[in-house]
Structures are given as C-alpha cells and as structure tokens.
Symmetry: C2
Subunit: 159 residues, 2 copies
DNA sequence: CGCCTAACGTTCGGATGGCTAACGTTTATG
DNA sequence: CATAAACGTTAGCCATCCGAACGTTAGGCG
C-alpha cells in the first residue's frame, strides 16, 4: 500500500524556500563535516576569522562583528580558549570587558579551517560552471542584502 | 576601540556556503513565522501535504515520503492528532502499523498553510525579477539534485 | 512448523544555529 | 550621586536533523 504514489514529487519541493533550505542543509552538512574533521564547528571558524580580521576585541564587539549571539560567544570562547586557540584577558581600562585575542595555534587552526572551507565550496558547487557559480552567488547576495536590510543589519548597523 | 574595522566585510561572507546558509535562514524564518501564525511549523505542513498527496499511510511510509525522521514523526503526528488535523488508526492487516489519515480540519489547515507559504515565496523573492527567480530556482534545483544523488536520495530510493 | 531477520513505532538524547530572559558587575551620563 | 547602559555569564527554548535502543509484529526460509 505504500507504492501507489512513490513517484509523486510533492508540490512543495519546487518552492524556492524549500530548494533554498535543502540546498543549505547540504551545504551546512558539508561545511560541518569539513570543520569537525579538524575538531571545530561553524562558530569556531567565524570567531577565529573575525578575530584575525578585527584584531583583539571584547566579546561584545566580536559578537557584533561575527553575528554570533553574545550568549553563544561565551561557550564558543570557552571552547577555543580550552584548546589554546584564543586567549581571554581582562581589559585593564574597562573591568567589564575581556579582551579576546588569537594565539598562534589559533592562527594555524584558522588556516586549516579555511582550507577545508575552500574544498567544501568546490564540493558544493561541483555541478555548476564558473559562470553559473557567479550568477548564483550574485542572486543570493541580492536576496541576502535585501533581507538583511529589512531585518536588523548584522554588520555595520551603527554608522 | 571597537571602531577600527567596523566596515571590514569579513571574507567568509562572500562564500556560496555562507550566502546559502544565511539566505536559507531568512527563508526559514519567514516560512516559520507564516506557519506559526496559524499555529504550525514546517514538519506539520510537510506531513499534511504528504498525506493529502499520498493518501493515508503508515508512519514509516510517510516518513520516507516527507523526509521526516521516524523519531520526529511520532511527535509531529501526536501534535497534529491532538489538534484533530490527523487521525491515527491501527492497521487491521498489520498490527505493527498505524494508518494516518487527514481529517477535514486537517485539509482546511493545509489550505491555510499553503496560502501562507505562497505569500512567503513572494516576500522571499521580492527583489528578484521573474526571470531571475526562475534562474535561481533552476540553479538550486541542479545543486540539490546533485547532492541528493550523492547522499541517499530522499525520494524513491527503492525502484 | 519454528527461527531469525527486518520493519514498525516509540522514547531518549545529541548536535547546530539562532534567540530571550535574567542577574550581577562595572562604566558612563545626566 | 543616581540612573541608565554596556558587559559577561548562566540558563533555557525552539526547530531541524540525526543516531541508538527496545519491544512488538510480520515475513521469509529452512
């Protein structure tokens, strides 16, 4: 009795929101696998990359720049600090703050993660030609921009 | 001290995997908001839609068709059954199975969810022209197909 | 016929990413 | 000085996706 319709494609499967979610699932899985092969996950990469780019900063500032929620920052920094990839030091000029900085081990880990990430992009976009990849990127960027503007912008909202 | 680089875009933000994930997040949020306005969530819609399309079936069969994990099916059906949108009856010909069927209230709910979903697509794709929407859909479909083939195909794996 | 495997439903729990609420400490501002 | 704001922290929720385990029931095969 489970055979009468095993070939019906289900109508929602053509919806952009569905395609987007599912494709993102695959991407998420690929990225996650790549990261976990090096003992990390998305937040770790985002934080390390933000740190390298912004330099040492307070947790709150890092949260703003990386788009990681403050309450998740705590755990993320704990994990990275436990592995010696990051250092947490009190800010002498403001005792509310911790100053987080990248260690050299952290930099090395970041290099590894970037490598994985690059490989993942290849795997993710395998079936598309270079032009198609570019086109997809452009379309997605426009969508993202639009919605980021509608919702509180994640980057540079203050200026 | 948090100003020196508030304008650096962060390099990962151009990666397709990132664009995909973030855009999907927005989509997910939009869809979820639409659904929750009618007291439902994604799994509910997927199950109801699958039910209408396949007709009554066992939980395992529905799980296969809808792509919902068996262990999540239980809770989903419980919730839908509690709201009277779905009925769970033992299969007289196989005592291992429950036969799940859509009630008329369930059909009505499905109509509502479909309406929301359609509105959401509009909202999601607002900044794109019809041709661009089509192009995006096509590119995503190709990606999804590719990866679904690589991973265990979600639909019709047995045939 | 009996056994063993496989399918089914169920419960429990984990991972990831995103988010809210509360609270104490510290700084800045009116 | 007093009040407001920022900071870090803890605790918790939600949705989707997933794996492990277990008892029950059917089916296939010797």
């Amino acid at each position: 009795m489970e055979n009468p319709s095993e070939d019906t494609p289900a109508r929602w499967q053509g919806l952009p929101s569905w395609l987007l979610s599912q494709t993102a699932n695959h991407a998420h899985r690929l990225v996650g696998d790549g990261f976990s092969a090096v003992g990390a996950r998305g937040y770790h990469y985002r934080l390390l990359a933000t740190l390298e780019q912004s330099g040492p900063a307070s947790q709150a500032a890092l949260g703003r720049r990386s788009g990681i929620h403050l309450s998740d920052m705590v755990a993320t920094i704990n994990e990275l600090a436990d592995s010696g990839l990051v250092e947490r030091a009190p800010d002498p000029s403001d005792r509310r703050r911790n100053i987080i900085s990248l260690t050299s081990a952290g930099k090395r880990q970041l290099r590894r993660l970037e490598k994985r990430l690059a490989e993942t992009q290849e795997e993710l976009l395998a079936p598309l030609s270079p032009e198609e990849r570019q086109h997809l990127t452009k379309l997605l960027s426009r969508l993202l921009d639009h919605h980021n503007r509608r919702t509180g912008t994640p980057e540079e909202p203050w200026r």
